[in-house]
């Protein structure tokens, strides 16, 4: 008994260390979304309003992308007490990521009744490259692992004591505000959860669980309400029903068919929007179960601090996952394994509905920790099988060898994360803004105005974040920014020429800037090639990022 607690605390400590140590520098860079989330937390902490002046909002307008608010709210204490910094913004994510390891243990033990499975599940999540990667940044996607596992655990406990059911409602309710895919997935999860435990519901359910139902009802209502205040906007904008190429692929194929003499009816039948959407969904959905995503290539893009070219699980886990599926097919799984399998199957649906190349580990974060529990079960199952066939000694050797290889894989991953990933990821992770802002800070007194190009993507947020502009100033200024909406522009940074104090943001129009006492920051290619910059910046792979130019010299 005692041994389990020692092991659990060891796992927990390991999880904490690999999630918290060095978060201000790794993942390298700091993305606009992290800065946006952080600044809204700052704004809420100091004024009770977001940067647009909205009091205690249910969605954050942010850059016009309408972010889910939960992360910003969770970051209020750390930002308030530790000050606005990369560390204080990333800390809540890292801590909740660590707690998720513990709640995974609780959930797994409640579901399966097996301590060894629960411990291994916690261990597999603790060392998961996918989960470590998402925990170390201020990434909303990561919250869901904690809230769902807590919710499931409290739900099962709540079957006995209705008071804990309130915690479950609260947890699932909050998850509705964690991330788009978390919001979409939560109701699906609740349905399969209730279905899996339907035998435990007897008597007057409504009466027994009236408070939990009420609590969740309030959250559900708030979600529904917030859908009409903009949250649905980004949701719709990034779905596959709204392709980036504006259906050009479909019409090109159809045109090709017609050119070859296909009758119009058949050309329409063989190339149409419905078929296209279906194909996209299918492709995206199964990309999350692809061997390449899980074990060998991982994510398509590095913008969430994950490493492309490395599976979201360890290569060794191929064996465990396959064993796990075999055990389920042969009805040798653990109790409620069906629930975990259904969870894993349903989880990528929201991710599959969004466009992009697929393989987006952040959107599919709802698959965690189901996939780790399955992987851990594979190890337990194989151990049992080997024990039955070759004896306990052999099985123990196998178990220890597996654990040692996994720890070795963790070490390799951490080395990769620390040394190889930064140069590759620095561009996607928008590395360098801190340096640029501190350089501006040191010389801005000499200039009448500082103009930041829109290529700094949402340039205002870097000023707000790194110069710690008082929220009240931003709220005053952002009143005027709202005109982007009236102009029919989707995102704030597509607006040309908005300003904050002496900072202006937008295109770099050389003719208008020439000879002014301005400091201009943008990509090298935005300036004439003969310009002499005051300062140049580059990414960690050595490629140039931005330059700073005195407009007098243009």
């Amino acid at each position: 008994m005692k041994r389990y607690y020692i092991l659990l605390s060891l796992i927990f400590t390991l999880a904490l260390l690999v999630r918290v140590v060095g978060i201000s520098s790794y993942p390298v860079g700091f993305t606009q979304d992290e800065a946006g989330i952080g600044y809204d937390a700052y704004s809420l902490a100091l004024t009770g309003k977001d940067q647009w002046g909205k009091a205690w909002p249910l969605t954050l307008r942010s850059f016009g992308d309408f972010k889910m608010p939960l992360y910003s709210y969770l970051a209020i204490p750390s930002v308030y007490f530790l000050g606005l910094s990369e560390f204080s913004v990333r800390l809540p994510g890292a801590l909740l990521g660590t707690l998720a390891v513990f709640t995974t243990y609780l959930m797994a033990i409640k579901l399966s009744g097996r301590k060894e499975l629960a411990l291994l599940s916690a261990f597999f999540l603790a060392i998961s490259p996918w989960h470590i990667g998402l925990s170390r940044g201020a990434f909303e996607a990561n919250l869901t692992t904690f809230f769902i596992t807590l919710g499931v655990w409290a739900f099962i406990e709540g079957l006995k004591s209705p008071r804990l059911m309130i915690l479950s409602s609260l947890s699932f309710g909050l998850n509705l505000f964690s991330y788009h895919s978390g919001r979409f997935f939560t109701p699906l999860l609740i349905i399969i959860l209730v279905a899996s435990f339907r035998d435990n519901f007897r008597g007057n359910i409504l009466n027994r669980y009236k408070i939990p139902i009420l609590v969740f009802g309030i959250f559900a209502f708030a979600t529904f309400y917030s859908m009409f205040t903009g949250a649905a906007k980004r949701g719709l904008d990034i779905t596959i029903f709204n392709p980036t190429d504006n259906w050009a692929y479909v019409s090109n194929k159809r045109y090709g068919l017609i050119l070859e003499g296909t009758p119009l009816f058949f050309a329409r039948l063989f190339s149409n929007k419905l078929l296209y959407v279906f194909t996209q969904f299918y492709k995206n959905y199964f990309s999350y179960f692809s061997t390449t995503f899980l074990f060998s290539e991982g994510v398509a893009e590095a913008n969430y601090g994950l490493i492309p070219g490395r599976g979201v699980l360890y290569a060794l886990e191929t064996v465990f996952v396959v064993a796990s599926i075999i055990s389920f097919s042969t009805k040798k799984g653990f109790s409620k394994m069906g629930f975990i399998i259904l969870w894993a199957i349903l989880a990528p649906i929201p991710a599959a509905l969004t466009k992009g190349p697929g393989y987006a580990a952040n959107r599919a974060a709802t698959m965690m920790p189901a996939i780790q529990v399955l992987s851990a079960w594979g190890l337990v199952f194989l151990y049992g099988m080997l024990k039955g066939r070759f004896g306990k000694g052999f099985a123990r050797v196998f178990l220890w060898a597996s654990l040692i290889i996994l720890l070795g894989s963790l070490a390799l991953f951490l080395a990769d994360y620390r040394y190889n990933a930064p140069p590759k990821n620095s561009k996607s992770m928008q590395y360098g803004m801190r340096d640029i802002m501190s350089t501006i800070n040191s010389i801005e007194g000499k200039y009448g105005r500082i103009h930041l190009s829109r290529t700094l993507s949402t340039p205002n947020i870097w000023v707000q974040f790194y110069m710690k502009v008082p929220p009240s100033e931003v709220q005053d200024a952002s009143d005027a920014w709202l005109r982007y909406e009236r102009l029919g522009i989707k995102y704030l940074d597509q607006l040309n020429g908005y300003s904050l104090g002496k900072f202006t943001f937008g295109d770099i129009a050389i003719s208008e800037l020439q000879g002014m006492n301005y400091l201009v920051v943008g990509r090298p290619e935005e300036f004439p090639s003969n310009v002499v910059p005051i300062a140049s910046f580059s990414y960690l792979d050595g490629s140039p990022s931005y330059i700073m130019v005195d407009a007098n010299g243009l």
Binding site: K253, G256, T262, F270, K283, E297, S329
Partner: protein, 532 residues
């Protein structure tokens, strides 16, 4: 049954023969080479470098395994130097693999699954693509299917093992990945059936071993001399590509993982447009559902199968696991549809099995209705694939098939009479093999007169290249290409490499005789001379 089989077989064969000269749009380099070697061997008994009845054919680019080239010789003899003549062996072997899979699956499961497997194989994009182009991959598949079939039959009756050995060995003579796959697969087969095989006794096993050795001896002598491994090591993981710092094991694992990936099999296919149709994986999307279902059920019911059936199913499973290994050892082998062709057979069988399970599971009206809708959807997808294959794909992939040579050289052949020299561009794509093929050059003469295709500076004024006889010059046209135009010269220039400014044909001394266009109406070749 025979009537049904024939009824099924006719459209399957028809689909493989229909417009075979037009789709794929042109004979590309490797296909030309097949035809040319077959032509050379059928005319002179030698490969085009003059080696008599070679085990490995000496081609311009490499040493080639002989199977397809010998198979093609009679077809070239009968059908001439045409697309049909070159691609006919692939069609025939494709049809044989459909028959072979029927008999193999009948052995493993039952007749129904066997019929469905044969139909699924015949309609599968992967199989269809390789049934209609001269590629060693499509030729290999039936040999391995037959080798496996006769191995399994050999567990009942010893004599079949000789046939098994023969077919596996012929596979090794067909395509390089087989030389890794066959030994591995046979070791596993022997392990599965170890009791049975040991029961045959040392003498019988010895005979079999000897027979195999004899069939393989020509190959082995070449192998020992190092020729056979040339191409394989060229593409193996170890050398080259220093930019990829990861270890060999990791790269092999990555390749292996890719070959089982969803995107390779079901959505994107091979990145090479010659080996995949845009918008299609190598299998149908519905195959995924069936394969998963089939696999799930096989695993679930495995323990309840008879000992005999267990072994047969293991053979299928081991085949699937081993099939991607040879390709994994090569650069880019994770998504290489040709080198991975052997995956197709077990995947097709699993898909057929899953389909039959679903079909049989539909007992009541509601589930039958669902199956009906499913069938309709499948038919739609199949029709849609063939539509893409025959109408869109030729146009989309013309560049990789290198179309235009046939038209250009046919024009040269028809008009060369009035000229003393014909000068052909050799920098766009290697021109010589295509010229020999479409011109129908006398191969005995070629073997006698040809020495080297290395470019020599100024072999002719304004041309760096080589010549064939006294008339035909191949090489890099030195700019300005107007200099080559003489009254007695016929020049074939590449639009991409030579004619960067087509307006030169408007007002100069040049006489433009013909322009060869791509299906997208972009020019490929300009054929010109000087105005009289």
């Amino acid at each position: 049954m025979t009537v049904l089989a024939l009824l099924l077989f006719l459209p399957i064969a028809f689909l493989r023969l229909w417009r075979l000269d037009k789709v794929p749009i042109a004979l590309f380099g490797d296909e030309i080479d097949v035809g040319l070697q077959a032509y050379s061997i059928s005319e002179t008994g030698r490969d085009y470098f003059g080696n008599r009845l070679p085990v490995l054919f000496h081609s311009f680019a490499e040493y080639r395994l002989p199977m397809q080239l010998y198979l093609d010789a009679p077809f070239i003899k009968i059908l001439g130097l045409t697309e049909l003549g070159v691609r006919a062996p692939s069609v025939v072997m494709g049809l044989i693999s459909i028959i072979a899979i029927f008999f193999l699956v009948r052995k493993i499961f039952d007749e129904k699954v066997a019929v469905v497997s044969a139909i699924f194989l015949s309609l599968s994009p992967w199989h269809f693509i390789y049934s209609r182009q001269a590629n060693d991959a499509g030729i290999l598949l039936p040999f391995i299917l037959l080798g496996t079939l006769f191995f399994v039959k050999g567990m009942e009756s010893y004599k079949f093992l000789f046939l098994s050995s023969l077919f596996f060995c012929l596979g090794i003579y067909t395509y390089y990945p087989a030389s890794a796959f066959v030994p591995l697969f046979i070791i596993l087969l022997v392990l599965v059936y170890r009791k049975k095989i040991l029961g045959y006794g040392a003498q019988k096993i010895g005979f079999l071993f000897l027979a195999t050795l004899i069939i393989l001896s020509p190959y082995l002598t070449q192998f020992i001399s190092g020729r056979a491994t040339e191409r394989f090591s060229y593409i193996s993981v170890a050398p080259e590509n220093k930019s990829n710092e990861r270890g060999i094991a990791e790269r092999v694992f990555k390749n292996y993982s890719k070959s089982f990936s969803f995107s390779f099999l079901f959505s994107e296919g091979d990145p090479n447009p010659r080996q995949s149709v845009d918008g299609w994986g190598l299998l149908y999307r519905f195959d995924l559902i069936f394969i998963l279902f089939g696999l799930f059920n096989l695993i679930r019911s495995f323990a309840e199968l008879s000992e005999e059936r267990k072994k047969l199913v293991s053979v299928l499973g081991l085949w699937l696991l081993v099939a991607p290994l040879p390709s994994s050892l090569t650069e880019g082998g994770g998504t290489h549809a040709s080198r991975l062709i052997l995956m197709l057979a077990p995947l097709t069988v699993l898909s057929a099995l899953g389909f039959m399970l679903i079909l049989n599971g539909a007992k009541n009206f509601k589930s039958k209705l669902i199956v009906g809708v499913l069938l309709l959807f499948m038919a739609f997808e199949v029709v849609r694939f063939f539509q893409s294959y025959f109408t869109l794909w030729p146009k989309e992939s013309w560049r990789l098939w290198q179309s235009g040579f046939k038209e250009a050289i046919s024009f040269v052949k028809a008009n060369e009479g009035g000229y003393q020299k014909v000068i052909l561009n050799n920098t766009y794509e290697p021109m010589l093999p295509r010229f020999l093929f479409w011109y129908g050059y006398d191969m005995a003469l070629f073997q006698k007169t040809f020495d080297d295709d290395k470019h020599i500076q100024n072999i002719y004024p304004s041309l760096n290249g080589f010549k064939l006889g006294d008339k035909f010059y191949f090489g890099e046209l030195v700019k300005p290409i107007e200099n080559l135009a003489k009254e007695d010269n016929l020049v074939v220039a590449s639009a991409e490499k030579d004619v960067t400014n087509p307006t030169i044909f408007e007002d100069s001394e040049l006489k433009l005789l013909n322009v060869i266009y791509s299906p997208e109406k972009t020019p490929i070749f300009y054929i010109y001379t000087q105005k009289k």
